[in-house]
Symmetry: C2
């Protein structure tokens, strides 16, 4: 089993009430692939500029992530600049510099085309469709999106959704896409657009899964110290998809357990700046928190 992710690899400049970092490794595909790498082989498809530090490329290699699809192009790497005030749920974007990402047009290698699971991270739905066309016979196709694409690429996004099994999006995006304030109703409406499974991410409030007409809510793992929420959603998706990729059978229980692992990865991701905590993590750390979380959920 191997898991393909296409998305952004970025250099992030982030300020939170607890500190600041400059040009540090970020991007949806980075958080996703490192989170998923604890469970399965990950093929990373993204683009960076000539300025991308070799150390950062090594980070992926050390995690066993396949980087043949990580192209280097003339120009600068995609940059995101943002900050959080004390309400850490609300990321404020100060600047987005697409740079080489503007001309991103991924061509998949033979091994990437054979991946059994696919995650189309938050990029232009036109690109998501183009990548999906190249994959041969995936077992699960998942995607993410954002408000900007819902507004500007609605038609293409709706076309993509007819080809997607599992759709990750956050609560505000779900309300916006479904034009429905109530999340349960929004999930059902979105599922009718194509994806058999919808997972609505609610940040500190956890996630809500809708599969086969059944709602399955999961709280977040309670933390007292959140350092930097950047990448929480992609780490959640990475943990979820990573676990699914190594699951032989895809019954309802597997999806629920997968969402549990996603929650655990997200909870680690926010404990330090950037990918720092994920990179110091062991599989045993993950299993230990999973067990704690699992015990907490019993009523």
């Amino acid at each position: 089993m191997s898991l393909l992710v296409v998305g952004s690899v970025a250099l992030d400049t982030v300020k939170t009430p607890f500190g600041a970092v400059h040009d540090i490794l970020g991007g949806s595909a980075s958080y996703f692939s490192i989170s998923a790498s604890f469970f399965t082989e990950v093929h990373l498809v993204a683009v960076v500029g000539k300025d991308f530090p070799p150390d950062y490329r090594d980070i992926f290699l050390e995690k066993g992530i396949r980087t043949e699809g990580l192209q280097t192009k003339d120009g600068e790497t995609f940059r995101w600049k943002g900050h959080y005030d004390f309400d850490l749920n609300d990321a404020k974007t100060d600047a987005t510099m697409l740079n080489v990402f503007g001309g991103f047009d991924p061509v998949l290698s033979e091994s990437s085309r054979n991946c059994s699971e696919v995650f189309l991270a938050n990029i232009d739905p036109v690109l998501q469709l183009r990548v999906l066309k190249q994959v041969k016979n995936p077992r699960i196709v998942a995607c993410d999106t954002m408000n900007y694409w819902i507004e500007t690429r609605r038609k293409e996004l709706l076309r993509l959704l007819t080809k997607v099994d599992l759709f990750f999006l956050n609560d505000a995006e779900a309300r916006q896409l479904a034009e429905e304030p109530m999340l349960t109703k929004a999930a059902r409406k979105i599922s009718a657009m194509g994806p058999k499974m919808v997972i609505i991410k609610k940040g500190e409030h956890g996630a809500l899964m809708f599969v086969n007409g059944v709602f399955s809510p999961l709280p977040a793992f309670s933390l007292e110290e959140v350092f930097d929420p950047t990448g929480a959603g992609d780490s959640f998706a990475g943990g979820t998809m990573g676990f699914l990729a190594q699951s032989k059978k895809l019954h309802a229980k597997a999806f629920r357990r997968a969402m549990g692992y996603g929650t655990v990865l997200a909870s680690f991701a926010v404990e330090k700046f950037s990918l720092q905590r994920l990179l110091s993590l062991t599989r045993e750390d993950i299993e230990e928190r999973y067990r704690t979380f699992s015990r907490k959920l019993v009523i």
Copy 2:
């Protein structure tokens, strides 16, 4: 085991996007006592006016609720008028007419003073303290409050909290009382004010319990139709305290299960206007939803 509740019995006029009702039975003590009555004997302490319909008094009697403490005074019953827009999380108060509730000064009967559990619903902390003084030797003292008392009776509320075991409050109130945006940190700060156990109610996002330094999150039971959210928090507290009152041992598991029953009662309460759904409910309906909810939580 018997459970004392002191709070409001009101006539509510409510408008939601789905309909409207006029002068219908409401109030914190009504929702609480009917929810708790499925589990234990409830002693209701409140005040109504001469205009209080005898049919509404019969509702309590039919549920086996002890009403010796439900005084009738000259004047009109407490009235609350409010509405909800499509965002059902946000109750908008249009009018509050205290009427006879303004002079409420409860004197407990002998049997009420002997109750093993006490719930001081959301009323003036001065009154909550006065009631508590009359109770002989309670096993659990619980209370609720609201933003208004946090602002205007902070000193009295803090004095009350030193005498309380279990404190129910919603997320906004927790942030306000602790002066802390992060709910986990707020819960710990509030626990340091006195209550060994703090349960923060988060509406559609469930609840967060803090006991013995451990956080225990619980999602809400997912509903697609919410008709009238009035009383959800008091029904939650009623289910929780009702279950605790009939629990022989008060270990961590009992509190978690109690919160599960609270969640189930709250989920029923919002399915129809006023107390309609709670009044048509059977213990078997509750157990069935509890089993469903419990299965959903497994990861």
